[in-house]
């Protein structure tokens, strides 16, 4: 849990590969006034946030500020919670994913998710990746697709000789990469990652972070992380959320959103500065 300590400028510089200008890029997502409530209490309110294509966007902030709730609203996973209510809009390539006539199944096919705790199916390694492909009708060249997905997740070499073995025999880090492979096998547009490395050891974490540098060439990635250093290492854009206290409790708000170097070295908002320099959080 090392959210303490300022992040050195050198680390940030190393994360950047080429100068980017977000304004040139297409916004894959754009949330407008997004508010998610559980029952009456809002968990995160009034978020206006564009997510840009082929970039890694990190969502950081103290615990309880609704980062995961925000993330899950991007692929309508909050629908699974009966008391959850969504106000505002989430525009995906211009369409509101909560609009009429939009099918959550289609939404989730385009916007994949990797969860905090690795959750492979109780099936073989091969079937873990192949299951989604079969269900979605992408059955042509199944073997090839499975291999490609596992390769992209940097797992192929480790499992190619035991594809028929159970997924539970893999280590935590391998299971998480399997979950990643399974998500990208179905060729999504976006991959959401909810604290993907928080249950993993440092070596496995590094592997996942390296993967994200590769994957962003093909996908748009949004990652929630409580680890500021991680955000600095992998993210092109960073959004800082914080908890705003009210009489009825608290809810999460977006404080600042900008290119990562700026957030960590010259944030505009005092609260951002306080968090990234470790004065609270």
């Amino acid at each position: 849990m090392d959210t303490m300590g300022a992040v050195a400028p050198i680390e940030i510089a190393q994360a950047r590969e080429a100068p980017l200008s977000a304004s040139d890029r297409e916004a894959v997502f754009e949330t407008r006034g997004l508010t998610v409530s559980y029952g009456k209490a809002p968990a995160v309110s009034n978020v206006d946030l564009p997510i840009y294509r082929n970039l890694v966007t990190a969502i950081i902030g103290p615990s309880g500020c609704g980062k995961s709730t925000f993330l899950r609203s991007l692929n309508r996973m909050n629908d699974l919670i009966p008391s959850a209510k969504v106000d505002g809009e989430v525009l995906y390539h211009g369409q509101n994913i909560y609009g009429d006539g939009v099918d959550p199944v289609e939404v989730r096919r385009r916007i994949g998710m990797v969860f905090q705790k690795p959750n492979p199916f109780p099936k073989s390694i091969y079937d873990n990746v192949a299951w989604g492909l079969r269900v979605l009708g992408m059955k042509d060249d199944l073997d090839g697709r499975v291999e490609r997905a596992l390769t992209q997740a940097a797992l192929w070499d480790e499992v190619k000789n035991r594809l028929k073995k159970g997924a539970f025999g893999l280590s935590g880090g391998q299971q998480q990469r399997l979950c990643l492979a399974r998500a990208i096998a179905v060729e999504p547009d976006v991959v959401l990652l909810d604290e993907p490395a928080s249950a993993l050891d440092p070596i496995a974490t590094t592997k996942i972070e390296d993967l994200m540098h590769e994957l962003k060439n093909e996908y748009t990635l949004v990652i929630v992380t409580h680890n500021m250093q991680q955000a600095a290492r992998v993210a092109d854009m960073t959004a800082f959320f914080t908890l705003e206290r009210t009489e009825s409790g608290g809810h999460g708000v977006l404080v600042e959103y900008d290119e990562t170097p700026k957030i960590f070295t010259q944030p505009d908002d005092k609260r951002t500065e306080g968090y990234v320099t470790g004065r609270f959080g």
């Binding site: 369409q95 939009v102 289609e106 939404v107 096919r109």
Partner: protein
């Protein structure tokens, strides 16, 4: 841009539409199955209530059956008989059941505890008619039928139910309670009898009530142990007595519609008893659990 629009479209594709259709179909089937089960329940209880309630009367409860051909009369002997049989069975089963549960929960080494649980589960799964034949062979052959022999058979059926319910409740007692008593210097047996058991009484009670509900409805064990009965109200457990389920059984197989009417009425009484006790027991159990955990 047109290619992109298609790629990112969120309206269902034909394939997705078909998948969603299958999904809705399956949901409908599942809902149908649940509704069918509830409907059957309503049908059965409805039939019994409709046909049975009308035959109830004060005479019904207080008189005994009349000879064939005459009208009137009642089922007092069956009511009393069931009362005697089930009460005795409860008295037999409850102490033993609690003792077994105490052993499994407090004293037994893990493997023996597993074995005991297996024994209880297997006992629970035995057909009740087998138990009836067993008691017949053990007690009735040579000496004749008697109410208490029927009680013995019912007690065998109640035993695993009470033992299991008690065991589950004992497991709910927080270990801090046991440890607290032991830390005070109380011995094992004082802890168990003075602290653990009283805390579990509510759960044991509800388990017993559920077992009574089950035993009250059993017919097969009584066929061989207490079926040949005189047509008078008997409180003596050494005599064979008529019981409600057995009476229903005989009346249901008769050709006389008057007998059928009586069977429905008896069935109504029996179902009412069983359902009311089951529901009450379950409600009590829920409340009891909350008290333990809350």
């Amino acid at each position: 841009m047109a290619v992109d629009a298609a790629r990112f479209s969120l309206t269902p594709s034909p394939r997705t539409r078909r998948r969603k259709l299958i999904n809705v179909l399956m949901q409908a089937l599942a809902t149908l199955a649940a509704l069918a089960a509830v409907a059957v329940l309503a049908l059965v209880i409805g039939s019994v209530a409709q046909r049975g309630a009308s035959a109830l009367s004060w005479d019904f409860f207080t008189k005994t059956a009349v000879t064939f051909g005459q009208s009137g009369g009642g089922v007092a002997n069956a009511l009393v008989g069931s009362l005697v049989i089930v009460a005795l069975a409860t008295a037999m089963a409850v102490p033993v059941g609690i003792l077994i549960a105490l052993y499994v929960s407090e004293f037994a080494p893990p493997r023996i505890a597993d074995l005991s649980r297996l024994v209880l589960d297997v006992l629970n799964g035995l057909p009740s008619i087998i138990i009836g034949i067993f008691v017949f062979g053990l007690l009735v052959i040579g000496s004749g039928q008697a109410a208490w022999k029927g009680s013995f058979a019912l007690a065998i059926i109640m035993l695993p139910l009470i033992a299991r319910a008690t065991q589950e409740v004992l497991a709910l007692v927080p270990s801090s309670l046991r440890e607290g008593a032991l830390a005070l210097g109380a011995s094992r047996w004082r802890t168990v009898l003075g602290v653990v058991l009283p805390t579990s009484l509510g759960g044991i009670l509800t388990g017993t009530v559920l077992a009574i509900a089950r035993a009250a409805g059993e017919t097969a064990p009584l066929l061989f142990t207490t079926s040949i009965a005189a047509n008078a109200v008997t409180w003596d457990p050494r005599q064979p007595v008529l019981s409600i389920p057995y009476d229903i059984f005989i009346l249901s197989e008769s050709a006389d519609p008057a007998d059928h009417a009586r069977a429905w009425a008896l069935g109504f009484v029996l179902i009412s008893f069983v359902l009311v006790t089951s529901l009450t027991a379950r409600l009590l159990l829920v409340r009891y659990r909350k008290k333990l955990e809350g």
